[in-house]
């Protein structure tokens, strides 16, 4: 636990060691604004809710979260510091968790910076704040799932750009598996129950459930399972890459 915090602190601080973090936060907020107000027509809808805000998160995260996660391992492998890190008397699990949580905290920070929009809807109208809270929870969990994928992909390569592309691709698969278009196609090939499984695997279905204001345990468990699974994969990749040098 202490080891994990040591790794966490170093990793989290390293996000702010370059101006890149601030650039990223600005881009994140601008994109959020663009989608919410322009594409999502926040004002035109004249509804006191954040539906138009959350609706685009799955798509925004598809690119923004891999950008946060891509450096986690690729950079360590490229610069050789992985050897330094893994020969310290710290468990590999603590390293994996510490690094992931640092990236997750950074993601959470970016999301927290959108809180003014919540204040705005409360000022403009009378929204159901319960729905907004679960909306944020769902958004954070989904970002966490994307991030776990991005972390694992980052361990696959020394090149951050490659890590980014791999992460976007895998995240995209996890997302679109819930789109009607994909499910219709799948329905033509697979038997009914399997289509249900594919749909259930998608981030979208679980994310949307949480947007409705109900915290379904199954949805929370789903995201936590996905995160745990990909962190496990992350570990396997790190161990095998350590052997490959």
């Amino acid at each position: 636990m202490k080891d994990m915090m040591t790794i966490f602190r170093r990793e989290f601080a390293s996000y702010f060691a370059t101006p890149l973090a601030y650039v990223f936060l600005v881009i994140f907020l601008v994109m959020q604004g663009l989608f919410t107000f322009y594409v999502g027509q926040f004002y035109e809808r004249e509804q006191a809710d954040l539906v138009s805000f959350f609706a685009y998160h799955p798509w925004l995260y598809l690119f923004l979260v891999p950008a946060i996660g891509m450096r986690l391992w690729a950079e360590e492998r490229k610069s050789g510091t992985l050897e330094l890190l893994l020969t310290l008397p710290v468990n590999t699990s603590a390293v994996i968790a510490g690094k992931y949580l640092a990236a997750f905290a950074f993601t959470g920070l970016a999301l927290a910076m959108t809180l003014p929009i919540w204040i705005t809807v409360n000022w403009l109208g009378d929204p159901d704040n319960g729905v907004i809270v679960t909306g944020y929870l769902g958004s954070l969990l989904m970002a966490g799932a994307y991030l776990a994928i991005a972390a694992a992909m980052s361990a696959l390569t020394k090149n951050q750009v490659v890590a980014f592309i791999l992460a976007v691709s895998v995240c995209f698969l996890f997302m679109v598996s819930g789109l009607p278009m994909v499910l219709d196609t799948a329905g033509g090939i697979l038997p009914g129950p399997l289509v249900g499984v594919v749909a259930n695997l998608s981030f979208l279905a679980h994310f949307e459930n949480l947007q409705k204001g109900v915290v379904g345990l199954s949805d929370v468990v789903y995201f936590l399972t996905v995160i745990a699974l990909w962190l496990g994969i992350n570990r396997v990749i790190v161990e095998s890459k350590r052997e490959a040098g």
Binding site: K2, D3, T6, I7, R9, R10, A13, S14, A17, T18, S79, G80, T81, E83, L84, L86, T87, L88, P89, V90, N91, T92, E239, R242, E243, G245
Partner: protein, 315 residues
């Protein structure tokens, strides 16, 4: 004396390549072992196994009685490691980096501050403690890596080419530091700089293609050189031919090498194994009244032994 670091028949295969092919060695407290070999001999791979970064294909590494594995954090706590090229987090300052290393070793609070201060002081980092590591010169970066390796006062120090790429003054500085730390520890340094071994190491192990080809004190290894007992002298070039002929006629002389240096010639008169030729050569010089401006007896040359054991050819 207690053995602090031990390799037992370590092997590492990368596919068909036997990078390390059965290396056994032990380093005692107070010993500085020079680990030599040409590039690609397997030095770095061996050291990665000694530190638990790589799992051996066969054999084991033992530090202070504990087997080193990726999962054994306790064994790694006893080790200070400077990886090849001294990788560092460039976006940190030495102060931040060393504090991180201390925390990773479970050192906290005032003790950590003192450990960082002492390690930084030992390698004279004080002036750059708040500068980003990536902006430091190569010599300073290497010192940061060394400070990180010694910060927790490890029993065993494993340094992979600690002086590689440094200028002669910096090399001297790093050697002095390693020498100063050797009394209480077992130290293994890899290098292909042979003068370093003579300056620093109490023992040298030479490996080639993953196997040990020589092991002994630097003097014992040098004694295997064809130059051991050889007499080197600087003579006027005009006399050189006469001296060479006279020397070759002496008992115990194996051959003579000559190298011109302006109007003088440097002659190296090689001795046959176990032959003492310094006195006969001296007598010869006195008898003929040749003007000799330098006269020395060779203790053997490590580079010559290195070449002969790693290529199978004499120099």
């Amino acid at each position: 004396m207690d053995v602090l670091l031990e390799a037992r028949d370590l092997k590492k295969h990368f596919g068909p390549l036997r990078a390390v092919d059965g290396i056994s060695l032990s380093v005692k407290k107070g010993e500085v072992l020079g680990f030599l070999g040409p590039n690609g001999a397997g030095k770095t791979t061996t050291m990665k196994m000694l530190t638990g970064f790589l799992a051996p294909s066969a054999g084991s590494a033992i530090v202070c009685g504990e087997t080193v594995t990726a999962g054994n954090a306790a064994a790694r706590r006893r080790i200070g490691y400077l990886p090849e090229g001294a990788p560092l987090y460039g976006d940190m300052t030495p102060a931040g980096f060393l504090a991180f290393i201390a925390a990773a070793h479970g050192i906290e609070g005032a003790v950590a501050e003192k450990a960082v201060r002492d390690a930084a002081g030992a390698v004279q980092l004080e002036k750059v403690m708040e500068q980003r590591i990536e902006t430091l010169s190569k010599g300073f970066k290497r010192r940061v890596g060394l400070a990180a390796a010694i910060l927790h006062s490890p029993d065993v120090l494993i340094l992979d080419e600690p002086t590689d790429g440094l200028d002669p003054n910096q090399k001297h500085e790093v050697r002095r530091l390693i020498g100063a730390m050797s009394a209480e520890r077992a130290i293994i340094i890899s290098t292909h700089i042979l003068e370093e071994v003579e300056a620093l190491c109490s023992r040298a192990v030479i490996i080639n293609a993953g196997r040990i080809v020589a092991d002994g004190t630097p003097s014992a290894l040098k004694a295997r050189s064809i130059y051991v007992g050889a007499v080197t002298m600087l003579v006027p070039s005009a006399d050189a031919d006469a001296i060479v002929n006279a020397a070759k006629a002496l008992d115990g002389v194996a051959g003579v090498e000559a190298a011109g240096e302006g109007d003088r010639t440097r002659l190296t008169i090689l001795a046959k194994p176990a032959a003492q030729i310094a006195d006969p050569v001296g007598d010869l010089v006195a008898k003929h009244g040749w003007h000799v401006s330098q006269f020395s007896v060779d203790g053997g040359r490590l580079d010559d032994v290195f070449r002969s054991v790693t290529t199978g050819k004499a120099a």
